[in-house]
């Protein structure tokens, strides 16, 4: 998927700045970030705690708006979007995967996915999404009956079932051991490859950078540098 991007960038950020004021302290979580993210790319955001990677992800996902600078998605201004626009944006365009899965405990795997497909415009069947992440045989299990890795894969199925253009993953393997973490990364990789979804993964695990098209390094709210991998490494071959 690397190489030319004929459709132009999905996200364009210029001078993105986010300042949190807490009491008398001002924290510049993002400090003048410029970036362009293209369809089908797999991006890894690397950085230490407090480097601003979560803030960037939140801005990309429409959970927060920058204090200054501009952010557009397909030319649509997200900087000045109101609550309703942001909800619609998240609903139609973005899939989220969280560190702690955030499944609804009272719903089975299939129902957790169905929760999203029922409000989406052009979803795949929940079963199809679960097959895609290799959970075709666990559809009727409740979260409490599944391992962490399985729960995370349900979360990925839930995120991609509506065929989003963007998949945002916040430390998706943070709570998992290596083996299950790899299985989850494989699922993400497969979604990115098969569906051509722009995928952004936050991590502070540098090993994961090797599976990306581009690696964006953040530090103190700024992009310190961007690496481009000539060849993506399959998730299966990663070791940490």
């Amino acid at each position: 998927m690397s190489g030319a991007f004929p459709n132009g960038p999905l996200f364009v950020g210029r001078g993105l700045t986010k300042v949190y004021v807490s009491g008398e302290v001002e924290v510049r979580a993002l400090d003048g970030v410029d970036l362009e993210l293209y369809p089908g790319e797999l991006i890894v955001l690397l950085g230490a705690s407090g480097s601003g990677k979560s803030t960037l992800l939140n801005n990309l996902g429409g959970l927060d708006v920058p204090t200054s600078g501009t952010l557009t998605y397909r030319g649509r201004d997200l900087t000045h979007a109101d609550e309703e626009d942001l909800t619609a944006f998240r609903r139609d365009a973005v899939g989220f995967v969280f560190q702690f899965y955030n499944l609804i405990p009272s719903l089975t795997a299939r129902e957790n996915v169905a929760l999203i497909t029922e409000i989406a415009r052009d979803p795949m069947a929940p079963e199809e999404a679960l097959e895609l992440v290799g959970l075709g045989d666990r559809m009727d299990h409740f979260p409490s009956q599944m391992s962490g890795g399985q729960q995370q894969r349900v979360a990925i199925a839930r995120a991609i079932a509506k065929r989003p253009e963007v998949l945002l993953c916040d430390e998706p393997t943070g709570a998992l051991d290596v083996k299950t973490g790899i299985a989850v990364l494989e699922a993400i990789e497969k979604v990115n490859r098969d569906l051509g979804t722009l995928t952004v993964i936050i991590t502070h695990n540098a090993v994961m950078a090797e599976m990306a098209d581009r690696v964006i390094h953040l530090s103190d709210g700024k992009i310190s540098h961007i690496d481009r991998n000539p060849q993506r490494r399959p998730a299966r071959s990663l070791q940490w």
Binding site: N58, L63, R90, F98, I104, S106, L107, I116, I119, S144
Partner: protein, 788 residues
């Protein structure tokens, strides 16, 4: 200096003040009811005891026809008698300026040649009549106030057919007329009934009772059983036309007070129990949630070296805060309501001074009961929290375990969307929480049904009693039984369209060991006016032989149709006859026994004697009729049906409005509190789920929908249960408030049900609206971070 732990308590309480207040208010409802009722009981009992004691209220009462004053000595000599008062007691009528309908009352003698012994008056203003001075009276305060009479005013009364102009010299109260109403009447009508006192000699002369008396009241020595005293009085007075002596239990005024206190007693127990149970559960639910959220803090406290007891005590203090809110609000509200009810009591009960005495004992008891209840509510959660070893408690709670709900296991899962399934599974996972929430809401639905049923019951009673059963416009009673000519005088009054005579004799009906004193009324067969009706409102024919009696009386005596009762007449030759009960009458006010007038006269061995007549009067000639009826000699009382009905309606309206206001408020508080509390707990337990839904693109409205589903289901489930509970509650209250004088029928209308449902839906809806605004403030970013 506050300890660090107490500071934590204050801040935690501050953060959850909405829930604390919601629970506290539900508790306050129960405590308010309890404090109000107990304080009213105390107020009535204290005031009554003091009044009876200080004004020497008699223990035994007896009416007779005529006995010489010399008999007083023999009555006083009866063993066990501490004091005797012989009196002249007569009914009077009066035409008052500005009143179309006549008023009547009772006039009693004041001793002149000896000090007054019993039933001493409380002189409010003015003075006693001068000895030897004619035409001076003391007037009862309620009647004087109703008409604006003051000492110095004159009033024209008709006493035994003779008109007299009397001067009011004093205004007073009497312990025997705390409840000042015409005998047998359910409610006082102070404009149309009054009590008067006059010098003995004057009154005796006017009543042809010179040197004689027709009423005696007796004080029984302390510790003496009144029964043998009454038996002896009966024996002594029999030759003088004595009726059977009775004690305070049968005294009209004293009995009304007893009934009121009995109702308050029931109220002071039943309602607090219900409200406190709901509050206990709510406390338990709120604090169990707090404790679950603070697992890690509890572990840390224990790791620092706080003992389980210290930690447990800290969490028990939360329930203290709720009790404090409940007690302060409940105490204030109970006192306020108590004052309102005391103000209402002034219309019904005439005391020298009836003031509200807060029952501090009850407040103390309320504190103990509500503390104990809320302690019980949190004990389980606290014990669980302190039992956990710190290392285990520091780890977050394991994920909640779910399974398909019962309905889904039954194979109907396709009917439900994911939101509905979430709701169903949540309910099934916490059945007790769901049950109590439902119960609380059901209670909220049930509460407003009670005043609705009372209001409809009163309207039904008014209609049944005074439109269908008693169709006469006027009932005229004579001072004494007279011959047929007395009836003829009444029948020929101007405007009288139809007249029916009645003969009424005092009697005791006895069945086995039970008996009851009342008037047996003889009416002509085929009566059109004063009718005896059955359960369906159809007239019962007057049997040629035997009695029709009130169903309530049959219940009191334990008789059923066909059973013979012993009828012991207390007038004339005092015949005792066994008479069969032929049928039961449905009526809602007073107790009645009807007989064929001919049969009754045969039993009395007399001719065509009458006591009065029921009249139907042409409205066009109403004024003329009233002018003339006043001139008929020997008339004792004139009861105008429409006036009775109107007075009853007016007197009950204010009480019902007050009760309705209280019940509606309580219902709103419970409905709002229960829904608010459940929603806040759900929001806290599932905030993360709900925020996740927001993140993945659900709108605020959709998320609220997910949350409302569960509560809406419980609310809908609670509605029919609540309607049932309300019906039972209303039935219970109607039964407990059912006395000889008034029995409310249980009338449950669609309107009452609809009002109850509406109150709860609106309160629940508003409560939900308040909570759902918090969904908007869910911290979406927090979801992406670590688990709580």
């Amino acid at each position: 200096m506050l300890s660090a732990l107490d500071r934590k308590l204050l801040r935690d309480v501050g953060r959850m003040k909405g829930q604390m207040v919601a629970v506290g208010l539900v508790m306050a409802c129960g405590l308010a009811m309890m404090i109000m009722a107990r304080s009213l009981i105390l107020s009535l009992e204290v005031t009554r005891a003091e009044y009876y004691e200080r004004h020497r209220f008699a223990d035994v009462f007896c009416d007779l026809k005529r006995a010489p004053n010399a008999l007083r000595e023999r009555l006083a000599a009866i063993p066990g008698v501490a004091a005797v008062e012989t009196r002249v007691k007569e009914s009077v009528r009066m035409d008052l300026p500005g009143m179309v309908e006549p008023a009547d009352g009772t006039i009693l003698s004041l001793p002149e040649d000896r000090p007054m012994q019993l039933n001493l008056l409380h002189l409010r203003t003015g003075r006693y009549p001068e000895i030897g001075k004619a035409n001076e009276i003391i007037m009862s305060e309620a009647f004087a106030n109703a008409h604006g009479f003051r000492p110095g005013d004159t009033v024209e009364v008709i006493l035994r057919g003779g008109k007299q102009k009397l001067q009011v010299v004093g205004i007073a109260l009497s312990p025997e007329y705390v409840f000042e109403a015409r005998p047998g009447q359910a409610l006082p009508d102070n404009r149309r009934f009054g009590v008067f006192w006059m010098n003995e000699r004057d009154l005796a002369t006017a009543c042809d009772l010179d040197g004689a008396f027709n009423n005696v009241v007796v004080d029984v020595a302390p510790g003496q059983d009144p029964a043998p005293v009454m038996a002896e009085i009966d024996r002594l007075l029999e030759p003088y036309g004595g009726l059977i002596a009775y004690d305070r239990r049968d005294h009209a005024s004293a009995k009304q007070l007893d009934d009121e206190i009995a109702i308050l007693n029931a109220l002071s127990i039943a309602f607090p129990i219900v409200f406190l149970s709901i509050a206990t559960f709510m406390t338990s639910a709120v604090l169990a949630r707090v404790i679950r959220l603070q697992r890690e803090q509890i572990a840390q406290l224990k790791a620092f070296g706080y003992s389980s007891a210290q930690v447990g005590w800290h969490y028990l203090k939360f329930s203290f805060v709720i009790v404090a809110i409940g007690l302060v609000v409940g105490g204030l509200a109970g006192t306020k309501l108590g004052h309102d009810v005391v103000r209402l009591y002034h219309k019904f009960f005439q005391f020298p001074s009836l003031t509200f005495h807060p029952d501090y004992g009850a407040i103390g008891l309320a504190f103990v009961v509500s503390s104990a209840a809320s302690f019980l509510g949190v004990l389980g959660a606290v014990r669980q929290a302190v039992k956990l070893p710190p290392a285990q408690a520091m780890r977050p709670e394991p994920p909640a375990d779910f399974k398909p709900s019962l309905l889904e296991r039954l194979g109907v899962q396709n009917l439900f969307g994911p939101s509905m399934r979430m709701a169903l599974r949540n309910l099934e996972r916490k059945p007790w929480q769901a049950a109590f929430t439902t119960l609380g809401l059901a209670l909220a639905v049930g509460i407003p049904i009670v005043p609705g049923a009372m209001r409809d019951g009163i309207n039904f009673l008014l209609d049944f009693q005074w439109t269908h059963a008693q169709r006469q416009d006027v009932t005229v009673s004579l001072i004494e039984p007279t011959s047929a000519s007395g009836f003829s005088d009444l029948r020929h009054l101007p405007g009288v369209i139809h007249a029916e005579p009645f003969r009424s004799v005092p009697a005791r009906l006895r069945f086995g060991h039970r008996s009851h004193r009342l008037a047996v009324t003889g009416v002509p067969p085929g009566t059109l006016l004063n009718r005896a009706l059955d359960r369906h409102g159809n007239p019962l024919p007057i049997p040629p032989d035997g009695l029709l009696i009130s169903a309530k009386l049959a219940e009191m005596l334990g008789v059923k149709p066909g059973d013979p009762v012993m009828m012991e007449v207390q007038e004339g030759r005092r015949p005792h006859r066994s008479v069969p009960v032929v049928g039961l009458i449905t009526d809602y006010s007073g107790l009645s026994a009807y007989m064929d007038i001919g049969a009754l006269r045969r039993l009395m061995q007399e001719g065509s004697t009458v006591n009065g007549a029921h009249l139907s009067v042409d409205r066009a000639r109403w004024k003329e009729f009233l002018d003339e009826v006043g001139e008929v000699p020997r008339i004792g009382g004139i009861n105008i049906t429409s006036a009775l009905k109107e007075s009853f309606r007016k007197t009950t309206a204010e009480s019902i409005n007050l009760i309705q206001g209280i019940y509606f408020l309580f219902s709103v508080i419970v409905a709002f509190g229960v829904v608010y509390n459940s929603a806040r707990i759900a929001l806290s337990e599932r905030g993360r789920d709900l925020a996740t839904l927001r993140v993945v693109g659900f709108t605020n409205r959709e998320v609220a929908g997910v949350m409302i589903g569960e509560l809406a289901m419980l609310t809908l489930f609670a509605l029919p249960i609540g309607l049932w509970i309300g019906g039972q509650l209303a039935n219970l209250i109607v039964i407990s408030a059912s006395t000889e004088t008034v029995r409310l029928p249980l009338i449950l209308t669609h309107q009452t049900y609809a009002t109850a449902v509406l109150i709860v839906l609106v309160s629940a809806g508003f409560s939900f609206f308040v909570v759902s605004r918090r969904i908007r403030n869910l911290d979406l970013l927090e979801v992406l971070k670590a688990r709580e």
